[in-house]
């Protein structure tokens, strides 16, 4: 493959972190800030595994994207509660400031964004999120803004309804300072929204995504069904499969 290999990631390990902030993100999601004293820092887009252990020893483990990046020891997650989940209901409903969590990370160097000063790749970047799939992109758009990186960035964010948008305020702020931000609403659109609510179409995607002629690097994160749909259309629209990186989190 022609992709340059990324720098070897910081060594991962199981670590114990302390929840230092917890607040509602949406009606079903919660934002958590966790202090991990021996966290080695992480790249934008990496994930971690959270492990919970019951009194009888039963363990459940799930992966979550990290909304923060850089060298700090405080990491941020935004977790959407899945009603039949084993880990997310605990993180959204039960965990409290001061509680400790077992974390494995940072993990994965595949779905990461590095600044142009590292990659020397000036091509634009298109991010496409379905629902809570926006979390790794928060890390990327924050890192992009913090680095003053000249790479053109565009985020297409598909959600069911306005109340489901994660980080709305921060995204609005970033959109005022260079990020191109587009929302697609599948169930309910805000009043006066120019496009009626409905499932995203190939034509809408073509209108919101950086055209294939600009050869963007594309990241897609969402449910498996969403990612399959979008990635398939992008190929039909002329994008190279090798320019598309995906992170599916299962489901339809």
């Amino acid at each position: 493959m022609s992709d340059a290999l990324p720098p070897a990631a910081a060594r991962t390990a199981w670590r114990v972190g302390t929840v230092v902030e917890a607040r509602p993100e949406t009606g079903s999601a919660r934002r958590l800030v966790i202090d991990v004293p021996d966290w080695p820092g992480n790249d934008a887009g990496q994930h971690l595994d959270v492990r919970l252990t019951a009194p009888d020893g039963y363990q459940a483990q799930r992966s979550y994207s990290i909304a923060s990046s850089g060298s700090g020891t405080r990491i941020e997650l935004a977790v959407d509660e899945l009603p039949d989940g084993e880990v997310s209901p605990f993180l959204v409903e039960d965990v409290m400031v001061g509680d400790k969590l077992e974390l494995h990370g940072p993990l994965g160097g595949y779905f990461v964004w590095m600044p142009q000063s590292v990659t020397h790749d000036p091509r634009p970047v298109q991010l496409i999120a379905g629902g809570s799939g926006v979390v790794p992109f928060l890390a990327m758009v924050r890192a992009h803004a913090d680095a003053g990186d000249p790479t053109p960035f565009r985020l297409l964010y598909a959600v069911r309804e306005p109340g489901d948008v994660f980080y709305r305020q921060e995204l609005t702020h970033l959109a005022a300072s260079g990020l191109r931000l587009d929302y697609v609403y599948s169930r309910t659109a805000p009043r006066d929204w120019p496009v009626p609510a409905g499932r995203i179409t190939k034509d809408a995607l073509a209108g919101f995504a950086i055209p294939a002629s600009d050869k963007p690097r594309i990241y897609i994160c969402g449910s498996t069904g969403f990612v399959e749909l979008i990635a398939g259309w992008l190929i039909e629209l002329g994008h190279a499969a090798g320019d598309i990186r995906t992170e599916r989190f299962g489901g339809q």
Binding site: M1, D3, L5, P6, P7, A8, A9, T12, V16, H47, L48, D49, R51, L52, T53, A54, P55, D56, Y58, Q59, A60, Q61, R62, S63, L82, D84, G85, E86, V87, S88, F90, D94, K100, L101, E102, H104, G105, L107, G108, G109, Y110, F111, T224, G225, R245, T246, E247, R248, F249, G250, G251, Q252
Partner: protein, 106 residues
């Protein structure tokens, strides 16, 4: 680190990041593989034994189904790797991958 209620192990993989009917990406194997390798295998480039295509392991199609995980080539669908894990052992097969290329630690 508490988990309020014990759930039967056959519910593992039925929700959250995993679904038995659909696949996820090789990137999701980073945690499991980091227990076995000193480098991030998901950013390593591997060649599919079946079709000869090279690509990052992070781009493989991963099917999570008890008791194991299967990674398939995104081009031809051949099995690249299988991982089976119990409480105290891991079995890893990379029988479908050859010529793994890894970035040296700097």
């Amino acid at each position: 680190m508490p988990l309020a209620t014990s759930a039967p192990s056959d519910s593992e993989g039925s929700s959250e990041r995993h679904s038995e009917m659909t696949h996820i990406d090789g990137n999701a194997l980073a945690g499991q593989l980091s227990d076995l390798f000193a480098f991030d295998l998901t950013t390593a480039i591997g060649r599919c034994v079946n079709c000869g295509t090279s690509g990052m392991i992070g781009a493989a199609m991963v099917y999570v189904a008890s008791p194991g995980t299967v990674a398939r080539c995104p081009h031809c669908g051949a099995v690249l790797a299988t991982i089976v894990e119990t409480d105290d052992r891991i079995w890893l097969s990379l029988a479908g991958v050859t010529a793994i290329e890894v970035a040296k630690q700097s």
